[in-house]
């Protein structure tokens, strides 16, 4: 406990410096906008901003704080279009449409935005505290990890990501293979000889994951907008009059918020589960607790609070495995992991010992960011509602140009821009075929590390494959990976992922 306070004071020392504070505020602002815009989720938002952040020459702490603030902001902002347009601003905000839109239709758009804003705050704040407590503890366990354990852990991440977060195991696994296969391109780390480059000199350094991320997430989105001709298809609800805070109604959701914070946080910590699962689980849980009388789905406060608490708590939880083990719990944390790797910071247990300044200033900044976001999303919510009026015909070309310039200013290479377009097309086709793109990113990020850990393990054991099962930790992880991949096949018939409700 004393440790925690000492660490937090170290963190706040850095986080409260005017420059860092400014970065956090800018991040919150951009993030909320990104989240609010339909079609631009947290992963897109962070992906587009990464190259720009690097070209600005921010230091590790600054870049990480800016981007994580965007991540948190996007999680808050996602609810705005869910409530007003019945279109989730990002995937985790999908469950918020179920009660948020009916409440807005009943003329209580302002109340819905305020309740969900408070819910986001409670979920994100408690999860950040959870992160501060759990991450150091988990990092001590991570010290036990050798190559065999890390290999098993990566396997677990790929399996659960494919298992829980997708509709079809084969497609999810294929996406992972695609990513890992791309990661192999370039120089073999052990021998220094080129592999899979087809003799193309541009490929000797491998394919930068930033290029893949921007292509798969941002450019493919532009193609979807062109296909739909920018039609949103839903009648938006206008926010009229003063926004007031319905205190009494928020008070009735207090237990819902606390329960959902815990469940959402746990969902976030599990590798591969992420915020979408967090909001799904919390909504379903509260719906069954409230029963028929709860009137979930008709625009009740608890139905708005539950998924928002859930997805924001999961967003904080997903940072735990990312920081302590280097294994992201969701798509956006995969992108944040890419940031860490590019900044030459190795996530994992040593991070907490070697760079406590980075970790603790990040946690302190996130605690501050939550208050900033609460201010932006409750009293100032009208500013962000205006953002929804930007027509896609201006927005999407803007997003494309920002992505291209970001990559270009980072690498200065036309070849990388071509790859961005190629990944954009690939992303479009994959998403059309319902093949998830997050495992591709994860594969590109972790593929070489996974291979390296496997090869190191085999060097240690002199080629004996049973070494992978030699420790309890690695055996448990491998078994969990297999169960996590296979079990959802049987559960899928019983628990259906809720599809979007139509008007």
């Amino acid at each position: 406990m004393a440790d925690l306070l000492a660490n937090l004071s170290l963190g706040f020392g850095i986080a409260l410096s005017p420059y860092t504070l400014l970065l956090a505020i800018i991040g919150c602002f951009i993030g909320t906008i990104v989240g609010a815009l339909p079609g631009l989720g947290p992963a897109n938002g962070v992906a587009i901003m990464i190259p720009i952040t690097f070209s600005m020459g921010l230091d590790a702490t600054g870049a990480l704080i800016l981007l994580t603030a965007i991540y948190y902001g996007a999680m808050y902002g996602g609810r705005i279009s869910s409530i007003l347009l019945n279109i989730p601003g990002d995937e985790p905000a999908m469950m918020t449409t179920l009660d948020g839109y009916p409440m807005a239709k009943a003329g209580r758009a302002g109340d819905a935005l305020v309740i969900s804003g408070f819910a986001s705050f409670v979920g994100a704040f408690l999860a950040t505290l959870g992160l501060a407590v759990l991450a150091p503890a988990l990092s001590r366990i991570a010290y036990e990890f050798g190559p065999a354990e890390y290999f098993a852990l990566y396997l677990l991440a790929f399996c659960t990501l494919g298992g829980i977060a997708s509709n079809n195991q084969a497609k999810a696994a294929l996406a992972s293979c695609l990513g890992i296969g791309i990661a192999m391109i370039g120089l073999d780390p052990n021998s220094g000889l080129p592999r899979m480059t087809g003799g193309n000199l541009h490929l000797y350094d491998g394919i930068d994951f930033l290029v893949a991320i921007v292509g798969l997430f941002a450019v493919s989105e532009v193609f979807f907008f062109i296909e739909s001709k920018g039609k949103s298809g839903a009648a938006g609800i206008k926010l009229r009059g003063r926004v007031t805070v319905p205190w009494a109604e928020i008070w009735t959701t207090r237990w819902t918020m606390i329960r959902c914070s815990v469940v959402g946080f746990i969902a976030g910590v599990l590798p591969g589960a992420g915020a979408s699962l967090g909001s799904f689980m919390t909504y379903m849980m509260e719906k069954s607790i409230a029963g028929e009388k709860g009137k979930f789905g008709t625009g009740v406060a608890k139905g708005i609070a539950a998924p928002e608490v859930g997805n924001n708590a999961a967003a904080g939880g997903a940072l735990v495995p990312m920081l302590t083990l280097g294994v992201p719990g969701s798509g956006t944390t995969a992108v944040l992991l890419a940031v860490l790797v590019t900044l030459n910071i190795t996530p994992g247990p040593t991070l907490f010992v070697e760079r406590p300044d980075v970790v603790w200033s990040l946690i302190a900044s996130l605690l501050i960011a939550n208050f900033v976001l609460l201010a932006m999303n409750v009293p100032m919510v009208k500013v962000f509602v205006k953002v929804l009026e930007v027509p896609p015909a201006i927005l999407m070309p803007g997003v494309t140009m920002v992505s291209f310039v970001g990559i270009y200013s980072l690498t200065g290479s036309y070849f990388d821009l071509l790859l961005v377009v190629l990944f954009g097309v690939l992303g479009y086709v994959l998403r059309k075929l319902d093949i998830p793109t997050v495992p591709v990113i994860l594969g590109i990020l972790l593929g070489s590390k996974m291979e390296k850990q496997l090869r190191d393990a085999m060097v240690l054991s002199d080629g004996d494959w049973t070494y992978l099962f030699s420790s309890t930790i690695s055996s448990v992880l491998i078994v969990a990976a297999i169960v996590g991949f296979i079990l959802p096949i049987f559960l899928r018939g019983r628990i259906r992922k809720p599809q979007r409700i139509s008007d």
């Binding site: 720009i52 070209s55 600005m56 509709n167 079809n168 195991q169 084969a170 497609k171 696994a173 294929l174 293979c177 695609l178 890992i180 296969g181 192999m184 073999d188 052990n190 021998s191 220094g192 000889l193 592999r195 899979m196 450019v219 532009v222 193609f223 062109i226 296909e227 001709k229 920018g230 896609p392 015909a393 201006i394 999407m396 070309p397 803007g398 494309t400 140009m401 920002v402 291209f404 310039v405 270009y408 200013s409 036309y414 821009l417 071509l418 961005v420 377009v421 097309v425 479009y428 086709v429 059309k432 075929l433 319902d434 291979e451 496997l454 090869r455 085999m458 060097v459 002199d462 080629g463």
Partner: protein, 147 residues
């Protein structure tokens, strides 16, 4: 053939994976070899990909809604324009290619000439100011030698 999309994609993946495995077999092993070597992991990934693709061919999902011919054409144009943009950015500077490309993309999303031209010019100048003067990136606004 019912549900062709998943099956065709599966076939493409199998061919690509076979090419990938063939390419992995050609990888030179160095004298500093470890028990696994540089070939095994890529080959394993290729094999898993083939297994997944076979599953996709055997049990395809419901057919996705592919865009109509006109939308496909619009996406095709967007791809070509972006490829040209990739080549044009260095020799022609930022402002002109960006304005043209942004205008074309905008037109593909919402076919109004006025809005597209304005958003092209606006985005080009606005982003240039943002990148160059606010964020301090080194960008060239015009082809070199103009000024």
């Amino acid at each position: 053939m019912t549900r062709p999309s998943d099956r065709i994609f599966g076939l493409v993946v199998i061919l690509a994976a076979l090419a990938y495995i063939a390419s992995a077999l050609q990888v030179q092993a160095s004298f500093l070899s470890d028990p696994v070597g540089p070939k095994a992991f890529p080959i394993a990934v290729g094999i898993v990909a083939i297994l997944c693709a076979v599953t996709m061919i055997a049990r395809p999902d419901a057919e996705p809604e592919w865009p109509a011919v006109r939308s496909t054409l619009a996406i095709g144009i967007a791809i070509v324009v972006l490829v040209i943009y990739a080549y044009a950015l260095k020799p022609l500077g930022f402002l002109i290619p960006t304005a043209v490309v942004a205008a074309i993309l905008s037109y593909q999303i919402s076919p109004s000439p006025k809005v597209s031209v304005l958003s092209g010019i606006g985005l080009s100048i606005g982003l240039f100011v943002l990148f160059r003067f606010v964020l301090g990136l080194s960008l060239f606004g015009f082809p070199r030698g103009w000024f």
